[in-house]
């Protein structure tokens, strides 16, 4: 069944009494896409993911999984879902094999398919050596891997991972990232994290949630390119400021170390870079460096989660 969007969520809200954990969140996920949900602790990431996974009913809003409504036909919708909650949902008294076989049959895998699915999931998550051990005796990192294996064993169209790398050591984190990237080629993946580099390392698109609201949603590639306000220029010979100021679009100039200047543009959207290059050529300043100062995801994240989110949202 081919649908353009694997997940389509509209206006998801969730209230606990008077507390609003998630407010009017809409998102969509295409096949072959990895979407990162970023936000400080308690921002509403887990609540949003629970609603997407059908574990929590939204107070308002709808979720379509692979074209099937999660509210109207939960069984069919959930067949295309793999979900790893914050706490890996494992049974400590079962062995890894027993547990994963159970998960496979819960998701309706036939007996004949189970062995192959089990082998593949264990291989993907590096669990082959611990197959026969009891989950309760495994380390936190291994339990987390069992949780991920559980979410992908039935090859769902959508994989939802809530903080998948918590409790893992650096090498395991790299392995899991590689696994997530591989998953992202065939499936759609949503993962949450409060760790920025993680999102930057694997996600194609990022959404920042703050106080239950979606405050930022952009492809990662463009996270830096939109709306720069400052330009860094380096010259061999320092130009006269009044000449530089007369270049259209140039607002203020601040000298930096090593013959560099930071130029603030007059209005957001102005791009005086070409004009500066022309002026440099005309006056023989010896231009050696010229680039827009880009806002990194980190700056955006810190700004959004410390500053007034609403004002920023309106400005964006």
């Amino acid at each position: 069944m081919a649908h353009e969007f694997l997940i389509e969520a509209h206006g998801l809200s969730r209230r606990y009494g008077s507390h609003i954990a998630a407010n009017d969140i809409s998102l969509s996920l295409r096949k072959g896409e990895i979407l990162g949900l970023l936000g400080p602790n308690g921002a509403g990431k887990s609540t949003t993911m629970k609603m997407l996974a059908g574990v929590l009913a939204p107070s308002a809003g709808t979720v379509m999984i692979n074209g099937v409504s999660l509210a109207d036909d939960p069984k069919r919708a959930k067949q295309s879902l793999g979900y790893l909650p914050e706490l890996p949902p494992v049974y400590p008294e079962l062995s890894v094999d027993e547990y994963l076989r159970y998960c496979a049959s819960l998701h309706g895998l036939r007996r004949s398919e189970r062995a192959a699915a089990l082998r593949r999931a264990k291989q993907s998550c590096g669990l082959s050596e611990v197959s026969r051990r009891l989950i309760g005796n495994l380390s936190k990192g291994y339990q987390q891997r069992v949780g991920i294996a559980q979410a992908i064993i039935h090859r769902p169209a959508v994989v939802i991972l809530d903080e998948p790398t918590v409790g893992l050591d650096p090498i395991q984190i790299l392995e899991i990232r590689r696994l997530i990237k591989a998953l992202g080629q065939e499936h759609g993946v949503i993962l949450s994290s409060h760790i920025l580099p993680e999102i930057q390392a694997v996600c194609a698109r990022v959404m920042i949630i703050h106080r239950g609201r979606l405050v930022y949603a952009e492809p990662l590639a463009t996270a830096g390119s939109e709306g720069f306000r400052t330009i860094i220029a380096g010259f061999l010979r320092m130009p006269a400021f009044d000449v530089l100021l007369s270049v259209p679009g140039v607002g203020e100039i601040e000298t930096l170390a090593g013959n560099q200047v930071r130029i603030t543009v007059n209005n957001a959207g102005d791009d005086p870079r070409a004009a500066i290059a022309d002026a440099a050529a005309a006056h023989g300043w010896g231009l050696i460096e010229l680039h827009a100062e880009r806002r990194t995801l980190e700056e955006i994240f810190v700004e959004l989660s410390t500053g007034d989110a609403h004002a920023l949202q309106e400005a964006a």
């Binding site: 059908g54 069984k75 959930k78 909650p85 890996p88 949902p89 008294e93």
Partner: protein
């Protein structure tokens, strides 16, 4: 339906790989073994003639089973507390909730898994009186009626405990609360001696009364239906509770 059996199988396995079930069975067997022995000694010391209305099956089987109900009342909450409360506490309940499985299937699966434990208890309880077959003439019908009554009663106790288990995330609270609920249902029997319709109503609602008939070898469909209704009611309440939790 196949998924219910899948869940039941895993639940039963989880019950029996945990030391709790074995400990419970061992303690149960020791206590009931002592009671059984005392009953035999008592019967041997006060032999009743063939004209007596209380036979061996009645005296020993019946006596053992009526004592067993009391012990089971204490034991069932310990097993039912795991079903939902403990799973909720360690987060594993999400596995079932996120799977393409309906709440009814989850509840039925867990209940059937619990039934494996009930069956094991019944086997142990059947073995003791049946040993007497070697040297005596047992009324197998009576023993069977008693065992049927016990299984029905355990089902009812289990269903009530399962429901209470859905209400909380603390296994100990689930155990204490279901124990309280079961004991209340038990005590209704005492109040049923009150005159008038209240006494009659309470007597009808009380759990023990219905067991009493079966223990005495009276197979009446009213008692069977009582236990089945009781079980279905609490399983249904559990489904409703789980559903309201999602919302």
């Amino acid at each position: 339906m196949a998924i219910v059996l899948t869940i039941a199988r895993t639940e039963a396995r989880r019950i029996f790989v945990s030391p709790l079930a074995w400990t419970v069975l061992a303690v149960l067997q020791s206590i009931l073994g002592v009671v059984f022995l005392l009953l035999i000694l008592d019967y041997a010391q006060n032999p009743r003639g063939p004209e007596s209305s209380v036979g061996l099956s009645d005296y020993i089987g019946g006596g053992l089973y009526s004592f067993a109900t009391l012990v089971l009342l204490l034991v069932m909450p310990l097993l039912t507390m795991r079903l939902f409360a403990e799973e909720r506490k360690n987060g594993s309940l999400t596995l079932l909730l996120a799977s393409p499985v309906s709440l009814i299937e989850i509840v039925l699966g867990k209940f059937l898994g619990l039934f494996a434990f009930i069956a094991a208890t019944i086997l142990l309880l059947a073995a003791m009186p049946l040993m007497l077959l070697v040297g005596s003439n047992l009324d197998l019908g009576r023993i069977a009626a008693g065992l049927l009554g016990l299984s029905l009663m355990m089902m009812a106790l289990g269903a009530a405990g399962l429901y209470v288990s859905t209400l909380t995330r603390e296994p100990t609270i689930a155990a204490v609360a279901s124990f309280g609920l079961l004991l209340m249902l038990w005590l209704m029997q005492v109040l049923s001696s009150q005159p008038g319709w209240i006494g009659k109503l309470l007597g009808y609602l009380a759990m023990v009364g219905h067991f009493e008939n079966l223990r005495r070898g009276i197979f009446s469909s009213v008692d069977i239906v009582y236990y089945l209704l009781f079980t279905v009611l609490f399983l249904w309440l559990a489904v409703l509770q789980l559903d309201s939790e999602r919302n």
